[in-house]
């Protein structure tokens, strides 16, 4: 856990929350340095949304302490509300108003004043590429436009801390890229961001640090590179032209996992050149003919499956490393 100065960013210590008998968050601690992005990664039902709802003052925690930009969430919720912006999972827009009116509504509620509010609204419409649709009712907006407006509404008063709950769920790839660019731009401008996602590539693309949440507990935390280096799961896939070659290779390399349908042998490997040369030399000496090979470096998928408990059903291949199973 990094140490974050109490005056900036987000700090949460030992946050617990139960709904009835169901423990949703079990002593969750996290810290987000000012101007950085933390991705809270986890499968459905891990407690990501609950964590965001607690930090954004929507629901109270059962226990634990939380400070947002120096304001205590429990004792000073209005202080927190004044510095945060929240974009929830379900679009928080007013469907009976136009895009411009939605932004003006936010400006009025932030007490920006008529003129300043109008200027800010126009600025955001421009920035989020919504100027053409500014005076259309939201019922005519596409999913991507809605999500952009949603985020624009969050940014009206230039909050210092932003919570994004699954900001790209349900978006097409292009809208997703646009959203990523916007989020990166915000962090570059010094905004502290906590985002939740169930997409590993999204966390990999955006986050400075990742916290993996599973069944209410943080099961792994670190930079994307740290998490990858800490997780086994790299392997070499050997492709064969005939079944008998695959069989003899599998006998020769007992640690590997054969796939008879695809004529592929999956050999655990750390991805270094030396180990690869050694493997190929051994195969050559044993006169086992390999058609071609591909190298698979550990990615966040491996991290995710290694540390979350749902990996048995969700995993696309058999994890060849015993640590992968032992870790949970």
């Amino acid at each position: 856990m990094t140490s974050v100065s109490a005056a900036t960013g987000i700090v949460a210590q030992d946050v617990c929350k139960s709904f009835g008998d169901h423990l949703v968050l079990d002593k969750v601690s996290l810290a987000v340095e000012e101007g950085t992005i933390l991705a809270l990664l986890g499968p459905n039902g891990a407690g990501k949304t609950t964590m965001v709802r607690i930090l954004s003052t929507l629901i109270p925690a059962d226990s634990g302490s939380m400070r947002i930009a120096g304001h205590d969430v429990v004792t000073d919720p209005d202080g927190v509300r004044a510095v945060i912006g929240v974009t929830g999972q379900f679009s928080a827009v007013d469907n009976l108003l136009t895009g411009a009116e939605n932004l003006q509504l936010m400006a009025d509620l932030r007490h920006l004043g008529r003129e300043a509010g109008r200027r800010r609204a126009a600025e955001l419409l421009e920035q989020f590429d919504l100027t053409d649709a500014a005076h259309k009712l939201l019922s005519t907006y596409s999913g991507g436009m809605r999500r952009r407006l949603d985020l624009a509404m969050t940014l009206v008063d230039q909050p210092r801390v932003i919570f994004l709950d699954e900001p790209t769920t349900g978006l097409d790839p292009r809208s997703r890229r646009t959203m990523w660019q916007i989020i990166r731009g915000l962090a570059a401008a010094g905004v502290t961001i906590l985002l939740t996602t169930q997409y590993l590539d999204e966390a990999d693309q955006l986050a400075d640090r990742i916290a993996v949440l599973d069944q209410g507990r943080i099961v792994a935390e670190g930079t994307p590179a740290e998490l990858k280096s800490r997780t086994p799961g790299g392997h070499v896939r050997l492709h064969f032209s005939r079944l008998d070659l695959l069989r003899s290779a599998a006998e020769f390399l007992p640690a590997a996992a054969p796939d008879q349908d695809q004529l592929v042998l999956q050999v655990p490997a750390d991805g270094t050149v030396d180990s690869l040369r050694e493997l190929l030399d051994e195969l050559h000496r044993a006169r086992i003919e390999v058609e071609r090979l591909s190298i698979h470096a550990p990615d966040l998928d491996d991290v995710f499956f290694a540390v979350t408990s749902s990996h048995v059903s969700a995993q696309p291949y058999q994890d060849p490393t015993p640590q992968g199973a032992a870790k949970r």
């Binding site: 709904f19 169901h22 949703v24 039902g45 407690g47 990501k48 949304t49 609950t50 709802r53 954004s56 003052t57 929507l58 629901i59 109270p60 209005d78 202080g79 509300r81 004044a82 945060i84 912006g85 929240v86 929830g88 379900f90 679009s91 928080a92 827009v93 007013d94 469907n95 009976l96 108003l97 009116e101 509504l105 936010m106 009025d108 509620l109 932030r110 007490h111 009712l137 509404m153 969050t154």
Partner: protein
């Protein structure tokens, strides 16, 4: 700005939002204000001949028109209130309410906006209905002061029912449920002196009708508009309105503050 100034500013913003909604959702606004007019025509021209004969007047239909206008004014109130419940439920089931709750705005301003918006809608509906009634030949011997008092009583009662509708809208799990719950109010109105004199009802029904809120309100408004006596109906009407308003207000605030506090993700 002070806290109070913020609260007023936020409530004004929410009221403006609410009035815009009424304009953007014209089908609902037209239906809520139009339905009482259709019912007025129905009561006067379909039922009016026969029901008016029961009043023992020469001109049965026009006598019944004079009698039934307070009942239709109450229909207007209920109709608007039904819209309130729907709009509140729409707000609460949509994502926008969570955005409001994560902003440093006056807590109750969302509800205040709904209440003031609906009250203005009620007054507009009442004005239109009275206009139509005059067009059909409605006679009133009331002076300006009587009119003022009659509208005041209706507005107070509407205020109470609007808070009740806000609470029902907050309590409803879906917009559909919210649109159904105020139906009970229609039933209560029909079991009051809104459309026929309670004296013509069977004993059990009459006793019920005489001790429920719609009867004193209808009788007070009728008395004020026709220049007749209002007796202690006015006191009962004010007492009922105040009582309902207080209970409904407290219920609504409780629901609003507690909302979603226990909802799993």
């Amino acid at each position: 700005m002070t806290t109070l100034a913020y609260a007023l500013s936020d409530s004004r913003v929410m009221l403006r939002r609410n009035l815009k909604h009424q304009l953007r959702y014209p089908s609902m606004t037209v239906m809520l204000i139009g339905m009482p007019i259709v019912l007025l025509l129905l009561f006067v021209y379909v039922f009016g001949g026969q029901l008016g004969a029961g009043l023992g007047a020469h001109e049965g239909r026009s006598a019944y028109l004079d009698y039934v206008v307070p009942g239709l004014l109450l229909i207007t109130v209920i109709s608007v209130v039904q819209g309130t419940a729907i709009m509140v439920a729409m707000d609460m089931t949509g994502g926008i309410i969570d955005r409001f709750r994560t902003m440093a705005i006056a807590r109750g301003s969302v509800l205040t906006g709904h209440v003031l918006g609906s009250l203005m809608q009620t007054l507009a509906g009442i004005a239109i209905l009275i206009g139509v009634a005059f067009g059909l030949g409605f006679h009133s011997s009331a002076g300006p002061l009587h009119w003022f008092a009659a509208i005041g009583i209706l507005a107070l009662f509407a205020f109470a029912l609007i808070w009740l509708a806000v609470a029902l809208g907050l309590a409803a799990k879906s917009v559909e449920t919210a649109s159904n719950t105020p139906m009970v109010l229609f039933l209560l109105l029909f079991l009051s002196s809104g459309f026929v004199a309670t004296a013509t009802m069977p004993t059990v029904l009459r006793q019920f009708a005489e001790y429920q809120p719609f009867t004193p309100v209808a009788d007070t408004v009728r008395g004020l508009l026709s220049g007749g006596a209002i007796g202690d109906h006015a006191i009962a009407a004010i007492a009922w309105s105040t009582g309902i308003a207080i209970v409904a207000y407290l219920w609504a605030i409780r629901l609003y503050n507690r909302r979603r506090a226990a909802e799993p993700n």
